[in-house]
């Protein structure tokens, strides 16, 4: 278990000092070598894994970190190689990245943008990380993405679902594999129409911040397009824990569907409260009352327990997918840790692999070369079917899963079942609709 943590700066200075003789101090204007920030010079390259380790998303962060550790193991030739065997690009050899052994540093985002930036800056400034990845909220993703753009390193977003990340706040150095609110709405609406009919009255409860707004907007537009009526949309404070006073008036409004635009703890509590109120046993307008959760996460669904049964939602990836890529990933993650990976783990693992592959194909760690290699890159075998990394907004376009809470789960993690795999074409949108300016890539230095 012993490993030398030798940073880029360590190697650099050792070399420089040896060259100049120990007695003579050497002056180095910061980062004015090699043409880009933190160019790896020794036999190793350092990646920064910035995930929430404290705060309410700590469990998700822990799963992300497991995925990163697995990715590093595979990149360095250890384990069973995981997705490298099924990935359509064969550039990765299992000998690190460009022959350099992959090392990593970890940090705690605390799910706060300030802390996340502090942690990312320490990775860039102190540890010489050439790429930052991870995170479990859009606020953090946007903040760290802006930092990476400024510092001249690549940012591979972790779990972030807001349209903003690759919409109005997109940056040339930032890339997102995860899907977004728009895609959730576009994928969900047809399924909801098919199962619940096109003559429905929806009541939205929306978390009162950016992600909530974009999700409400997406689900609203796409369900209204199939003929649903939106009766009301009420905003709930992020810090709310008891949603009873928001849920109680739902039946009075004459609505027969409740859409919970909530994530994490908010989702667990509002769903639990709604089920407690017996909403799902009611008949309104001669139809069964239904609840919809646009963004599902298995880790969070676990917190809501039996309340998720039969409730529709969307997700980026699920371990029960039967394609070769998903099976390979579940196999190697499950063998190492004893339980199946979450969607957060999957997106993080894939992001690390995609970065490494892009570097191999570009033949350089230079962020601009890597960005070029990722832009309009088409790949397959990573668990979501054929995928495109679109050049205009650095967003991945791939199939989206519509899932439903399972009626008879056989285990703690067997909570969701896949209802439909919505094809890419149905969730693709024009890159310009969210505004924002991608800018040009910044190599730093």
């Amino acid at each position: 278990m012993s490993k030398m943590t030798l940073s880029r700066r360590g190697v650099l200075t050792t070399g420089a000092a040896a060259g100049a003789g120990l007695a003579l101090p050497t002056y180095l204007p910061a980062a004015s070598h090699a043409g880009f920030t933190n160019a790896p010079t020794g036999s190793t390259v350092t990646l920064g894994f910035n995930v929430p380790q404290t705060g309410p998303y700590a469990d998700e962060g822990a799963d992300e970190l497991r995925a990163y550790e697995l990715a590093v193991e595979h990149l360095n030739g250890g384990g069973d190689g995981g997705l490298m065997n099924t990935f359509s690009s064969k550039a990765l050899q299992g000998n690190g990245i460009l022959g350099k052994k992959v090392e990593y540093v970890t940090g705690d985002t605390q799910t706060k943008s300030d802390a996340a930036r502090a942690s990312a800056r320490s990775m860039i400034e102190k540890d010489g990380a050439v790429m930052i990845t991870g995170g479990s909220s859009s606020g953090v993703a946007v903040a760290v993405q802006a930092l990476c753009q400024e510092a001249g390193v690549i940012f591979m977003a972790g779990l972030t679902h807001s349209n903003d990340t690759t919409g109005k706040d997109k940056k040339a150095n930032g890339f997102r594999h995860f899907f977004n609110s728009y895609m959730s709405g576009a994928a969900l609406a047809p399924i909801l129409g098919a199962n619940y009919g096109t003559d429905r009255k929806a009541y939205h409860l929306t978390a009162d911040y950016n992600w909530g707004y974009t999700t409400e907007e997406a689900v609203r537009t796409s369900t209204e397009a199939i003929g649903w009526e939106t009766v009301a949309a009420v905003k709930t404070p992020l810090t709310q824990t008891d949603f009873s006073s928001y849920i109680a008036p739902v039946l009075q409004s004459g609505a027969d569907v409740l859409v919970l635009n909530h994530y994490g703890g908010n989702m667990v509590n509002s769903l639990t409260n709604a089920v407690q109120f017996g909403l799902r046993d009611k008949l309104v307008n001669n139809k069964n009352f239904e609840i919809v959760v646009p963004l599902y996460s298995r880790l969070m669904a676990k917190g809501a327990g039996a309340n998720v049964k039969g409730i529709f939602g969307s997700t980026n990836w699920h371990w029960s997918l039967q394609d070769e890529g998903s099976k390979a990933f579940v196999q190697s993650f499950g063998t190492k840790y004893g339980f199946p990976p979450s969607q957060a783990a999957h997106t993080c693992y894939v992001q690390a692999m995609l970065y490494a592959d892009a570097v191999e194909r570009a033949g350089s760690f230079n962020p601009c070369a890597v960005a070029e290699a990722l832009e309009d890159f088409e790949f397959d075998g990573m668990g979501n079917g054929p995928t495109l990394y679109r050049a205009e907004d650095h967003q991945c376009f791939k199939d989206v899963l519509v899932v439903k809470g399972k009626e008879n789960p056989t285990s703690d993690f067997d909570l969701l079942e896949i209802v439909e795999v919505t094809p890419t074409s149905q969730v693709t949108y024009d890159a310009s609709i969210f505004g924002g300016e991608l800018g040009t890539c910044n190599p730093g230095a």
Binding site: G55, D208, S245, N269, T272, Q331, F413
Partner: protein
């Protein structure tokens, strides 16, 4: 009209949670003169007593079932709780189903023990220290307690449902002559409200009608004189701390079916419950209860969409806004005494 009745009901239920925590805080402040920032953590530990008991009840051994496969394609290992072996599956299911109410019995001794331990081990050294030091050391303790819970139970919420008999809701509307489904209220919340009322009543009765309570009240008024009478007031105060911890813990146990417990639920409640205590008036037990219900009901009203349409964002700030108005118009909160905590 229906909407207003509904929100009063909601407010009563929210208020009972606030009132229970505020009551415990005030008991500790009133008897020992200590501002206990770890009170939210006690609430949280109470909730985790329920989690722990349901884990104990579902302690299992595994049987390998060759007919089913797990996610890696190996034979599925089925967990069989020991209670199934001892009582049969039907009775076992009922026991597991009733884990939350059973936790009350489990939580009382645990919480009293934690309370007494806390008072003897830490708080008693802080009686003579400034309030600021008390706030700080108990705040530090709250961080430590919640991190320990997080270490063992993880950061995600853990579902602890109410017994299936109490799932669903009661239709108040039809009783009052409204149409069906206009005013519905979950059974468990009715139970929670009744439970809070009983606990609050019991605490007041205990202080009012027992000798023990009389001595404690005398001690709250003038500790030295009571000591001069040869009464060991310290021992009683320690026990009061245990009782206050139990009140917070029970509030937590009964709250678990409403919101799945997580390690930071105590901190979420802490700030609010302090606002409640201060609005009620430091050291006043009836004030704490009254303020709990007043703020609960106002919060419910502020969340109505008719109100939000006029004042967007009011639901975000209502509690603090009310606190500011009350403190500016009534210097010591609703029922506070002069000279308490003003140094």
């Amino acid at each position: 009209m229906e909407a207003i009745i509904l929100q009063v009901l909601n407010g009563l239920d929210k208020g009972s949670a606030y009132a229970l925590i505020a009551l415990g805080l005030t008991l500790i402040f009133g008897t020992l003169g200590v501002v206990n920032f770890a009170h939210g953590a006690l609430f949280m530990i109470g909730a985790f007593c329920a989690v722990t008991l349901s884990r104990i009840l579902t302690l299992s051994h595994t049987i390998v079932d060759e007919t089913q496969k797990d996610f890696l394609g190996n034979p599925l290992k089925v967990e069989v709780p020991y209670v199934y072996d001892w009582f049969g599956q039907a009775t076992g299911d009922v026991i597991i189903d009733w884990a939350v109410p059973l936790s009350i019995l489990f939580a009382i001794p645990v919480m009293v023990a934690i309370g007494v331990l806390m008072e003897r081990g830490l708080i008693k050294h802080f009686y003579k220290r400034p309030h600021a030091d008390q706030i700080l050391v108990t705040f530090g303790l709250a961080i430590v307690l919640q991190e320990i819970i997080k270490y063992y139970y993880g950061a995600n919420p853990i579902p602890t449902p109410a017994p299936s008999a109490f799932v669903g809701s009661f239709d108040f509307g039809t009783m009052l002559g409204f149409e069906a489904n206009q005013i519905i209220y979950p059974y468990w919340r009715i139970i929670y409200f009744a439970f809070a009322a009983i606990i609050i009543g019991a605490v007041f009765a205990f202080l009012q009608f027992t000798t023990f309570g009389m001595v404690v009240r005398a001690g709250m008024a003038d500790r030295e004189t009571v000591q001069l009478l040869g009464i060991n007031i310290d021992k009683r105060f320690t026990l009061m701390f245990g009782i206050a911890a139990a009140v917070a813990g029970l509030a937590g146990v009964m709250y678990t079916p409403i919101n799945s417990p997580n390690y930071h639920m105590g901190m979420d409640f802490l700030v609010l419950s302090f606002v409640v205590v201060v609005v009620g008036g430091m050291g006043s037990l009836p004030g704490a209860v009254l303020a709990g219900f007043v703020l609960g009901i106002l919060e419910s009203f502020a969340s109505m969409r008719e109100v939000l349409a006029i004042l967007p964002g009011l639901n975000q700030i209502i509690i603090y806004l009310v606190a500011i108005i009350i403190l500016l118009t009534r210097p010591r909160g609703l029922m506070g005494r002069k000279g308490v905590m003003e140094d």
